[in-house]
């Protein structure tokens, strides 16, 4: 099983490194959105420093949208013939797990680059880097777990672009609320009393999402 996952992951990374299109396009997307925000901030008269609350909000919304896009791009790269090849060669659990691992890695990179661009143009309010990194890893993992399954579902239908976000959004709302709560801890050196409950509920969410994906994906696989 681990061997299969390893092979699939190797293929994903090779594919990405040879073409480089999806990573570059997503980076361009993030950079242009951050730059747009920089301009929008400037039009309010002089250059205003973004409040921490809004920084948090904008950061996670942009990360979420770029993750949705990147997962969509990743799925649309696999054409029908290649899917048939996977179907014959690999087990569905291995396929979805490899996709999940690859996507969470890719999403973490996206979140870090967004942080970089935000730091350049909109200021860097992060005090506690450890907590921020932890939040990024957990949250991007949850987002990619949700949207990998939802994109897999929506690719079976006729209007796949719209549907993956419609299916995923209701489920993302509480996760994004928890994430912003957790991220608020990173703005100061001290930790509040709610920190551990929020952290562990998010981790629990992650496990449930991964578990559900592994159980439910085999049913989508045959189509």
């Amino acid at each position: 099983m681990f061997k299969e996952i390893f092979i699939l992951l190797q293929k994903e990374f090779k594919n990405e490194l040879t073409k480089k299109t999806s990573l570059l396009s997503i980076l361009l997307y993030i950079a242009s959105v951050s730059y747009l925000l920089f301009f929008l901030m400037k039009t309010q008269g002089a250059l205003v420093k973004l409040e921490v609350k809004f920084w948090n909000m904008l950061y996670w919304v942009i990360v979420l949208f770029s993750i949705i896009n990147s997962i969509y791009i990743n799925f649309s790269k696999d054409n029908k013939a290649r899917m048939l090849y996977y179907f014959n060669m690999f087990r569905p659990e291995c396929f979805i797990l490899s996709k999940l691992i690859y996507q969470s890695f890719f999403s973490t990179i996206i979140a870090l680059f967004t942080y970089l661009f935000f730091g350049i143009w909109l200021g860097n309010p992060i005090e506690n880097n450890g907590i921020f990194l932890l939040t990024i890893i957990i949250a991007t993992n949850a987002f990619s777990a949700i949207y990998t399954l939802m994109t897999a579902i929506s690719f079976q239908t006729n209007q796949s672009t719209l549907l993956s976000s419609i299916l995923g959004f209701p489920i993302t709302i509480p996760i994004i609320i928890f994430t912003t709560k957790l991220c608020r801890e990173a703005f100061s050196e001290s930790i509040s009393s709610h920190f551990y409950t929020t952290l562990f509920s998010l981790i629990g969410f992650n496990f449930i999402l991964i578990f559900l994906s592994i159980i439910l994906f085999p049913f989508l696989w045959k189509e």
């Binding site: 209701p170 489920i171 709302i173 049913f219 989508l220």
Partner: protein, 344 residues
């Protein structure tokens, strides 16, 4: 099941009529409408507005410290047409009471029985040296006679009747969603299209009851919490759940192939149901909620302890759940008739 069985149909109708008519037309029990207090030196003077109390001739009044079961009597009672003025001596019941503790006001007469006004007075200084002398404990332990009226609570008042609509409708919705998730799992293991149609129609009926539950809940929230929508974890959970099930209905419309549609919809249904259960039952317990039973609020016990409430609440729950099953059967019948018309 419901389409052919006349007995079940009659039972459903009887339960619904029983709970609706009884729930709307039975009177509330008499109670103190409002209590205003003023402090003067060592005296505490209460003004009670009590149009609901029938016989005001011999009302006994007590201040009660709920957790320690201590009672104190007023020194004088002065009655007018629609209000009662009671004067308590301040230090006597203050001794041994911590800051922030609240007292209930209890009124009692022969005809109306006991009437409570919860948290009528909150202590704001603490005297820890001496213990508080309690008197007349026996008067609180009187047995309650079974009376045909609903309890009259401080903030709830007449809106307590909503318990026979809001709560059973959510129960009916939950029942339908559990039913639908069960049949989705069954469909994935069996591949029978009937199971998928059952799951689909159950979600439709569940959304209908969910909408009704949200509407009744909004009216209730306006009258008790002061706003139609509050930032309550349970409300957010309900709204998110409704959104994800609406997405389920949209997903079904997006696929043409019958078997593919059934399979994908079943997968999404199981996913949405699991997440929904987490949102609505686990998250509100972590965060504070205004709903009864969460975050230190009293549960349904205060309602269920009352026999009159029980007499209408349980039939309402059973009646609305049976109605949801009936509606689902009708929808199922309609879908199959449509299919017969399309491919005879």
């Amino acid at each position: 099941m419901f389409l052919k069985n006349k007995f079940l149909q009659a039972l459903t109708v009887i339960f619904i009529i029983h709970s609706v008519v009884g729930g709307l037309f039975l009177p509330l029990s008499p109670n103190i409408e409002n209590a205003v207090y003023a402090k003067q030196d060592s005296l505490l003077i209460f003004n009670l507005y009590t149009p609901k109390i029938k016989e005001k001739s011999d009302v006994f009044l007590y201040l009660n410290l709920p957790k320690e079961k201590k009672v104190t009597k007023p020194i004088t009672i002065h009655q007018t047409k629609d209000s009662i003025k009671a004067v308590f001596i301040n230090p006597e019941f203050y001794k041994g009471v911590n800051k922030g503790m609240s007292f209930d006001l209890i009124a009692q007469n022969q005809k109306d029985g006991q009437m409570f006004y919860f948290s009528a007075f909150t202590a704001d200084t603490s005297y820890n040296q001496e213990t508080w002398i309690s008197e007349d404990k026996s008067i609180l332990k009187e047995s309650k006679a079974f009376k045909w009226s609903f309890p009259n609570r401080n903030i709830l008042r007449e809106s307590i009747r909503n318990l026979f609509f809001h709560v059973p409708m959510w129960f009916a919705m939950m029942f339908m969603l559990i039913y639908s998730a069960f049949f989705s799992i069954k469909y994935l293991s069996s591949g029978n299209v009937l199971h998928d149609e059952k799951a689909h129609n159950a979600v439709k009926v569940g959304m209908f009851f969910g909408t009704l539950g949200i509407l009744t809940g909004m009216i209730w929230a306006k009258h008790t919490w002061g706003a139609y929508w509050t930032d309550d974890p349970k409300l957010n959970g309900a709204a998110i759940g409704m959104l994800s099930y609406l997405a389920y209905l949209i997903l079904r419309n997006g696929i043409d192939d019958e078997i593919k549609k059934a399979k994908i919809a079943a997968v999404y249904n199981i996913f949405a149901f699991t997440i929904y259960i987490i949102f609505i039952y686990i998250l509100p317990r972590i965060n504070a909620s205004l709903h009864p039973g969460n975050g230190g609020n009293p549960g349904f016990n205060i309602y269920e302890q009352d026999n009159t409430m029980r007499f209408f609440f349980y039939p309402a729950v059973i009646g609305w759940i049976m109605t949801s099953l009936w509606l689902k059967d009708i929808l199922l019948w309609i879908t199959f008739r449509k299919k017969e018309c399309l491919n005879p």
